[in-house]
């Protein structure tokens, strides 16, 4: 069986004379079996650009995206229609997706009609209620409300109910929980887990928040300035990150436990961002983390390290890969 999603050597340049390399040779895959893969990185690291390319909203400068083995830019109308119903997007603020004059009921009914999901009225009603139950919303709580009368968490779950109606194979979720509260967040993420386990729906989960990725489990891909630095099973990477950037990132998570405070004080450390300005930004023929890396070596400045399975067998794991000269 082909992978659900294959991303091959994606590259995206923005701008003319001094282009930004938003995405720089990124490859990864989601397996045919239901899975959750988190794509993490700081703001500007290229996450949303990758999402837009996967959804077919942006044509990449180079590289391609395969859905079940077929290039998503394939000009087959029937295939395209299937792709558009099987791959669904969930964005940061669902508010913008809704027509503010429609009540929640109408939002859901429109989808049922547009995709011809129900034959009878009763069937439509039943599907709607099942979808709401699947996302922990009580129909009487939301159906009669306009989007602005719902809380952020409710709006976001209504969005998931809408997605659920279409029974997609893949959800591409770009920062879906960054606007909702911690308490609410857990229930939203639990729903994605249920989707995978009970309904066979995979998720590509995009976030700058590592604790959310950790909670989701599955696999993780760590991006930095448009390149993948490390990928592997989330739990393994979180416990023992190999790449110095992943190590810095993970050790900087504000753990909600006062007995486990940050050990090292970075407040007196030379500001990475300053040196980044001084460093030759345009030069990407190097490790992009070299100007901040405590273990930097001469060769790190000379060519980009490839993303490879680490040599050290002790740390090896099925799909663990790292782009750092310390491990090749």
């Amino acid at each position: 069986m082909p992978d659900l999603l294959t991303v091959e050597n994606l590259r995206q340049l923005f701008g003319g004379r001094n282009p930004t390399q938003a995405v720089d040779d990124v490859s990864f895959r989601l397996p045919a079996e239901p899975a959750i893969v988190s794509l993490v990185g700081e703001s500007g690291s290229g996450k949303s650009t990758i999402a837009r390319i996967i959804l077919g909203l942006l044509k990449p400068t180079a590289g391609r995206v395969l859905y079940q083995g077929v290039d998503i830019l394939t000009p087959d109308r029937k295939w395209n229609r299937r792709f558009r119903s099987e791959v669904q997007a969930v964005f940061q603020d669902p508010y913008s997706v809704y027509n503010p004059v429609y009540k929640a009921e109408r939002v859901l009914k429109l989808v049922i009609r547009k995709f011809g999901l129900a034959k009878t009225k009763a069937d439509a009603q039943e599907q709607m209620e099942e979808a709401l139950r699947a996302v922990d919303l009580r129909p009487e709580e939301v159906l009669d409300r306009h989007p602005h009368q719902l809380s952020g968490g409710q709006r976001q779950r209504l969005m998931l109910a809408r997605v659920y109606l279409m029974r997609p194979r893949l959800i591409v979720a770009d920062e879906p929980v960054s606007m909702i509260d911690a308490g609410m967040r857990a229930s939203f993420l639990n729903i994605l887990g249920d989707f995978r386990d009970r309904h066979g729906i995979s998720t590509l989960f995009i976030t700058h928040d590592l604790s959310t990725a950790m909670y989701l489990g599955g696999e993780i891909i760590v991006l930095y300035q448009g390149r993948i630095m490390e990928q592997g099973e989330t739990q393994t990477v979180m416990r023992s990150p190999l790449h110095p950037y992943a190590q810095l990132l993970i050790s900087s998570i504000p753990t909600p436990d006062p007995r486990r405070r940050w050990r090292e004080d970075l407040s007196a450390a030379p500001l990475a961002e300053i040196s980044a300005i001084v460093a030759d930004r345009a030069n990407r023929h190097r490790c992009l983390f070299a100007d901040r890396c405590p273990q930097v070596m001469d060769r790190c400045w000379e060519a980009r390290p490839a993303l490879l399975a680490p040599k050290d067998p002790g740390a090896s794991h099925a799909r663990r890969e790292v782009a750092c000269y310390l491990y090749d």
């Binding site: 700081e42 703001s43 809380s151 952020g152 968490g153 409710q154 509260d181 911690a182 308490g183 609410m184 967040r185 857990a186 229930s187 639990n190 887990g193 700058h208 928040d209 590592l210 604790s211 950790m214 909670y215 489990g217 989330t234 739990q235 979180m238 416990r239 810095l248 990132l249 900087s252 998570i253 504000p254 753990t255 909600p256 436990d257 006062p258 007995r259 405070r261 940050w262 004080d265 970075l266 407040s267 007196a268 450390a269 030379p270 500001l271 990475a272 961002e273 300053i274």
Partner: protein, 326 residues
């Protein structure tokens, strides 16, 4: 030791056509000199309103309804709630500094950093040379080089802009800094650096900091004490270690219980959602969501009472008198 800031019965709300909707209600809070006090709560619980009320920077329709805020400095005490506008202006910036939510996006895009940092200093009567010197010193506290003064805001990353804001806020060496969601929009590495810089500023200037955040992780890492807010009231107040180890208020218990400890471990969030001010329930405002709710909760408002050492809780479960009645 008397508190640097002693807030009593502070209420602030939104003025409507007929009445004022309460947003922050009857807050009692002592802020100790030299501490970092975290104020946490879900979005919309009134954290920013509380911060603006302390700074007397509420904007209509927000109104300060009642209460006192005794601010103790070496040269005397001031009730910030009553202080006339002119005297308030004297205190602000010099002794009382505010970093509002989202302020890193409020820098003027057409002015260099230097102008934005020194303008206020000049208004406070410093000479140009003094203002420059202070700005450079303040930038150093947040690890920024003086050459940043020549930059325009768009040339700086989010983290650098936030540092410029912090530097401007501390350039007069204020006694109290109120920072609202200081690092919310930043990545974890920058967040960590900035929070650690803030702690270093506290040590170096001997300042006191009220740090407002929705993030329990930020509080756990950097605060000395924490006030947990729910629906415009303080639910629990105590040391960070104390509250994380043994939260007493059912809401704090829910908040801390819904933190996942390990990858793959499933937690259930708090059931239901925090009410908006128009829907604050009567009695204990947490009662519709509270797993421990009992007889008096939907009628009687629990007072914030001292419990174990260094702890205050607003919950009938811990009020012997109420328990005896029930």
């Amino acid at each position: 030791m008397p508190a640097l800031l002693e807030i009593r019965g502070l209420s602030a709300g939104l003025r409507g056509r007929r009445s004022v909707t309460p947003v922050v209600s009857d807050v009692d809070l002592d802020v100790q000199a030299g501490e970092i006090l975290g104020v946490v709560g879900e979005s919309g619980c009134g954290k920013s309103t509380l911060a603006a009320a302390i700074m007397r920077l509420l904007v209509p329709p927000q109104v300060l309804q009642s209460g006192s805020m005794n601010f103790r400095l070496a040269d005397g005490s001031y009730d910030l709630a009553q202080l006339p506008a002119r005297e308030l202006r004297q205190l602000r910036w010099r002794q009382l500094s505010y970093i509002p939510q989202g302020s890193m996006n409020s820098l003027n895009p057409v002015l260099r950093v230097e102008r934005q940092m020194t303008d206020t200093l000049l208004q406070h009567g410093l000479t140009k040379a003094e203002a420059h010197k202070r700005s450079v010193a303040a930038l150093e506290l947040v690890n920024l080089e003086p050459k940043i003064l020549e930059s325009y805001p768009h040339e700086l990353s989010g983290g650098m802009r936030q540092r410029v804001i912090i530097a401007a806020a501390v350039s007069m060496r204020p006694a109290l800094i109120v920072a609202d969601e200081l690092t919310t929009a930043l990545d974890v590495v920058t967040q960590r650096q900035i929070l650690q810089e803030l702690a270093a500023i506290r040590d170096e200037l001997g300042a006191t900091i009220i740090l407002i955040t929705h993030d329990m992780g930020v509080v756990a890492q950097i605060a000395d004490r924490v006030a947990v807010m729910y629906a415009g009231k303080i639910a629990e107040l105590g040391t960070v270690n104390g509250i994380f180890e043994a939260p007493l208020h059912p809401y704090s218990q829910g908040l801390i219980g819904s933190i996942p400890r390990e990858s793959g471990q499933r937690v259930e969030g708090l059931p239901g959602e925090a009410p908006s001010p128009w829907k604050y329930p009567g009695g204990c405002r947490f009662h519709p969501r509270c797993p421990e709710v009992f007889a008096p909760c939907n009628e009687r408002i629990p007072a914030l009472l001292p419990q174990k050492p260094e702890r205050r809780v607003a919950c009938h479960l811990y009020d012997a008198e109420v328990a005896a009645d029930a």
